[in-house]
């Protein structure tokens, strides 16, 4: 049975993949996020960013260099229809 340690459950990113990238010089969260799609899936990092930070600390990156990803609305995925509605007093 394959023995993977899953770091990002949404995008199926393994600890081996992350460690390899850190060793290759990707040492900040934004770059790792883009390269692996980690934190870009449905949960937007809730399940994986702190574990990723642990892997960075393990690799010797100082805590002061570990910055959160940029958070933006919509922070929860929401049907497009909800945004398309009329506001009170507005014609369609």
């Amino acid at each position: 049975m394959p023995r993977k340690t899953i770091v990002c459950r949404c995008e199926d990113v393994t600890a081996d993949e992350i460690r390899a990238s850190i060793a290759h010089g990707l040492r900040d969260i934004e770059s790792l996020k883009r390269f692996h799609a980690l934190g870009t899936g449905p949960c937007q990092g809730k399940m994986c960013l702190v574990n990723l930070a642990r892997l960075l600390l393990e690799a010797g990156i100082p805590a002061a260099e570990i910055k959160p990803i940029v958070s933006r609305p919509p922070g929860a995925w929401t049907p497009l229809a909800a945004f398309a509605g009329r506001k009170a007093g507005e014609r369609s």
């Binding site: 910055k67 959160p68 922070g75 506001k87 009170a88």
Partner: protein, 484 residues
């Protein structure tokens, strides 16, 4: 699923788990027994469906982790809508539920071949770039397997967008949020309390222990509800906060429609996220967060499995170790990397006395199992013989990670703070962030027992209300609250 079984607990003292009417779900050709107030994810577990989904790249069987709407492992197609969090949808008679993105179906997915073909990693950035015809085939193949569900069956209506203003909005209705709403209202502020779950209380809905003189979490929550009602706090449930837009309002999504909220002060009490453990095969069905198991068992009365290993020895872990056997779940042991028990040592002794081992100074080395959890290997940190614990449930403790996103969107300063368990917004002792209109409280400041979270919430609620309704008595109360 080879057998239909019912993992529900039907008689637990006076607790009937609030199930509601019996209903039938249509699930992948089966008709499952469910109840009107059960979340679909819970009904599936109750019926022995352990594989909640298949993972995106490797098609590994995935289990539910948090049962709180945060881990997104429970996604399924519900009534023709893809990627629905089944832990957030209540069962309805005739509801169709189908797990997508597996061939032929999630119970047995041939695409798991990817998991075997790529045992450690799959990085497609530099794969098969030459020759061009092979590259084109790779490209087509990757696209075929992309995505998590089909387009919805139908168009959906676009309901009107509401706008609303309040004096104090409290976002998050766990112990801290409820406390903040109570003190803000008592201090004279028109207060709205919002939570994305169908009921208030956060993870306390599954808290099995006596709390502040009440029998358990749900009983304590009931008392808070009565107080909130008496204080005239407006409560909105099932409303998920999408965040703060540059136009200056918070957007919420509830029942298919958006509300744009403009509060004068905001108290964020969105708690902390259960974190998955990190060891090989940490995503197997059967590996839950400890709070997830507690909710499953105590709030909804469903057994997660037959044999449970608990990672962690704090009071919640000890409580589960005591109660799970009463629910028909054998506890095979507790384990922690720490050298001593974090919870009550007398309780721990009694648990040992019943033959349940407590492994101190052990780390979880790896889980085993093909389709679901079969066992967990524990390794002593000091070297020595590992322990292979057969189990089909792991309750993974470990500090949850504070939520921080809404604070960041409002201009708060978010840093990595290991002491708090992850990323967290900086704030003063009342919880005021870099945006002086916005406070953070509760477990956003780090994991804490419920009453500590509530104390934090009281301070934030007072401070928020004080900005709007200056009052020396309230100010004195705030000073007292923050001195402790």
């Amino acid at each position: 699923m080879s057998r239909i079984h019912d993992r529900r607990i039907y008689h637990q003292g006076a607790n009937d788990f609030g199930r509601g009417e019996p209903v039938r779900l249509r699930f992948e050709g089966y008709r499952l027994r469910a109840y009107a107030n059960e979340p679909v994810a819970v009904a599936l577990l109750a019926n022995g469906v352990r594989t909640a989904s298949r993972s995106l790249k490797f098609h590994r069987p995935r289990g539910v982790l948090c049962l709180g709407g945060r881990c997104f492992s429970c996604l399924a197609r519900v009534d023709g809508v893809p990627n629905v969090r089944t832990c957030r949808v209540a069962c309805r008679d005739g509801m169709t539920v189908r797990r997508e993105s597996a061939v032929p179906q999630a119970g047995c997915d041939v695409l798991r071949a990817f998991d075997f073909a790529f045992p450690k990693s799959l990085e497609y950035h530099e794969m098969f770039t030459r020759p061009a015809p092979v590259n084109k085939m790779l490209q087509r193949a990757v696209r075929v397997f992309s995505g998590g569900g089909d387009l919805p069956d139908r168009a959906a209506p676009a309901p009107a967008i509401r706008e609303k203003a309040v004096e104090v909005a409290v976002i998050g209705g766990g112990p801290a949020g409820m406390a903040a709403a109570l003190t803000a209202a008592a201090a004279g502020a028109r207060t709205l309390l919002v939570d994305d779950a169908p009921e208030l209380g956060g993870h306390l809905v599954g808290w099995p222990e006596p709390l502040d003189g009440f029998a358990d979490g749900p009983a304590w929550i009931q008392a808070q509800l009565a107080a909130l009602d008496k204080a005239g706090v407006e409560v909105a449930l099932g409303a998920e906060c999408l965040g703060r837009y540059r136009e200056g309002f918070w957007a919420f999504y509830a029942d298919g429609a958006l509300t744009l909220l403009t509060p004068r002060r905001t108290v964020l009490a969105t708690g902390a996220y259960d974190q998955p453990p990190l060891f090989p095969n940490n995503d197997l069905p059967g590996i839950f967060s400890t709070r997830g198991v507690s909710k499953l068992v105590h709030r909804w009365g469903v057994r997660p499995g037959d044999a449970c290993l608990i990672l962690g020895v704090d009071d919640l872990a000890l409580s589960l170790a005591e109660r799970l056997p009463e629910m028909g779940v054998r506890v095979v042991g507790l384990a922690t990397e720490a050298r001593q028990v974090a919870g009550d040592p007398d309780r721990a002794e009694k648990i040992r006395g019943r033959g349940v081992p407590i492994f101190l100074g052990y780390r979880a080395a790896r889980a085993r199992g093909a389709l679901r959890l079969k066992g967990l290997r524990l390794e002593p940190l000091d070297g020595g013989e590992p322990v292979d614990a057969p189990c089909d449930v792991v309750a993974a403790g470990g500090p949850p990670a504070p939520s921080w996103e809404l604070a960041a969107q409002a201009g708060g300063n978010v840093i990595y703070d290991a002491a708090r368990g992850g990323f967290a917004a900086t704030c003063d002792k009342t919880g005021r962030t870099a945006n002086s209109d916005v406070f953070v409280t509760g477990e956003m400041l780090g994991a804490a027992p419920a009453l500590t979270a509530a104390a934090r919430g009281r301070a934030a609620g007072l401070a928020a209300a004080l900005d709007l309704h200056p009052d020396e008595t309230v100010a004195a109360e705030l000073r007292r609250t923050t001195e402790n």
